[in-house]
């Protein structure tokens, strides 16, 4: 029955319900950072730069038990068609915090007491799913910086358009108004299928949410392959030269 539905359902850009936008990733794009990466879903492009681990300043913010992860998400003023005011915003602060929570479970921060790892995420171009692209880029940049990690994380947004679940929302779908409207569910997973982050605002049944997570598990497999390729290529290229 679901199959019937999927053939009947038309997405604005003609994708299948479980089809992602074209992804690309690259590491080592910021020469002055300790680690950096770019990740894109179609027209959504995020870059992340990692600085550290380094000593936390001021001293009273140091945690002798484990290191601190500090994320900073910001959308550049030209990333959307209406210029947005640069600088910290309520939304940016929330997403920064969310990104920290999504990444922390896989980082081995206990190895860096009294230290801080700074992750700066900038959105160059936005077409929905920016936080997911940001988390993917940040995970890549952290790996590139040589920070010990239990695993990689991959993030994807699952959407519910009216009653249909779809993978990787774009802006047109995010603003879906027919039927029940759009529900956006950004999900971050490890390769073992462990959830590190799930956000949800909108209407969804618990059965559908479970389906959404299954969908995300499938989608993150593809994202992981893209991330893996980006990291491996950057070293192999250097050796081939």
């Amino acid at each position: 029955m679901t199959k019937e539905k999927s053939t009947a359902f038309k997405r604005p850009d003609g994708r299948k319900v479980d089809e992602m936008r074209k992804m690309s990733a690259k590491v080592g794009i910021v020469p002055n950072a300790d680690g950096s990466a770019m990740f894109s879903f179609g027209d959504t492009i995020a870059i992340a730069a990692v600085y550290g681990p380094r000593k936390m300043h001021p001293q009273h913010s140091q945690n002798p038990e484990k290191g601190t992860l500090r994320c900073n998400y910001s959308m550049l003023s030209f990333s959307v068609s209406d210029r947005i005011k640069p600088g910290p915003s309520r939304r940016g602060m929330e997403i920064s915090k969310i990104t920290e929570w999504a990444l922390e479970p896989v980082l081995m921060l206990y190895k860096y007491p009294n230290m801080v790892i700074d992750v700066h995420i900038n959105i160059l171009q936005a077409n929905a799913s920016t936080r997911c692209a940001g988390i993917n880029a940040a995970a890549l940049a952290l790996a590139h910086a040589g920070v010990p990690m239990r695993e990689m994380v991959s993030s994807v947004s699952i959407g519910k358009l009216d009653k249909q679940l779809v993978v990787d929302l774009n802006k047109d779908e995010e603003d879906w108004e027919e039927g029940e409207g759009a529900t956006d569910i950004p999900i971050t997973l490890t390769q073992d299928g462990m959830l590190t982050h799930l956000q949800l605002d909108g209407k969804i049944t618990s059965k559908e949410l479970k389906e959404a997570i299954e969908l995300a598990k499938k989608a993150t497999k593809d994202i992981y392959e893209v991330q893996k390729k980006a990291l491996k290529d950057s070293l192999n290229e250097e050796e081939d030269k």
Partner: protein, 229 residues
């Protein structure tokens, strides 16, 4: 290089390197059930069952025995705090300085802002301990210090010091390479020091090409001709 490729492979965090009980987890790896898993990005290497991941990026990780170049950050009653561009701070205790130093005269030996070449004698959870009780170490009074990416240091030194020896011979300068990426160049004339700086920049730029030592020799010949003109 070709040999390196066959027994080293690029791994990413969470990737299974080997499966089986006969392997032991080394640096940068972890054992989960019977699998050896990488916990950092780098090149995986196996010898006699010990698996480790060699770092290829990131900040400098201090190791015992490394020679480093750092800047004096602060004086305490028991020694000097040195910034060696690593995540952890480094400490040079009074006992590790040759000769007797009175606790009141610490600043006369080294003051805040002085540069120092030192060797790492220990890395603990609390930080790095240094010594200058060896030849060639101590306060740096003259010369040129440049900074390169610490992951490129092995290239500057070359196989068994081949590259650094060429630089020393060709330029006549004394060069101390800190594993943390700081390089101290000391020559008779400033022109010679600048030549070494240029040579190191050339090496870093072309760090991934084959037969670099030969290339650097040619580069020196060319540069010297131009200098004479």
């Amino acid at each position: 290089m070709t040999k390196e490729k066959s027994d080293r492979k690029v791994v990413i965090p969470g990737e299974v390197i080997f499966e089986g009980e006969e392997y032991l987890p080394g640096e940068g790896t972890e054992k989960r059930e019977n699998k050896i898993v990488a916990i950092r990005y780098g090149l995986a290497e196996e010898s006699n069952g010990l698996v480790k991941v060699i770092a290829v990026s990131g900040v400098y990780q201090p190791r015992r025995g490394n020679v480093v170049i750092g800047k004096v950050e602060n004086l305490t009653f028991y020694g000097w705090q040195i910034n060696i561009d690593s995540a952890e701070g480094a400490f040079l205790p009074l006992q590790e300085v040759p000769g007797f130093v009175s606790k009141e005269e610490l600043a006369e030996v080294m003051d805040i802002g002085d540069m120092v070449a030192a060797k790492i004698i220990g890395v603990s959870g609390r930080g790095v301990d240094l010594t200058i009780k060896l030849r060639g170490l101590g306060r740096i009074d003259e010369g040129l210090i440049i900074k390169v990416n610490s992951n490129k240091v092995p290239r500057v030194i070359g196989k068994e010091g081949s590259m650094i020896n060429i630089i020393k011979e060709e330029s006549g300068c004394n060069v101390t390479v800190g594993q943390n990426g700081l390089i101290w160049i000391k020559g008779e004339k400033i022109e010679e020091e600048l030549l070494v700086k240029k040579a190191i920049e050339f090496i870093i730029e072309r760090s991934s090409s084959h037969g670099l030592t030969e290339e650097v020799k040619e580069w020196f010949d060319k540069e010297k001709k131009e200098m004479k003109k």
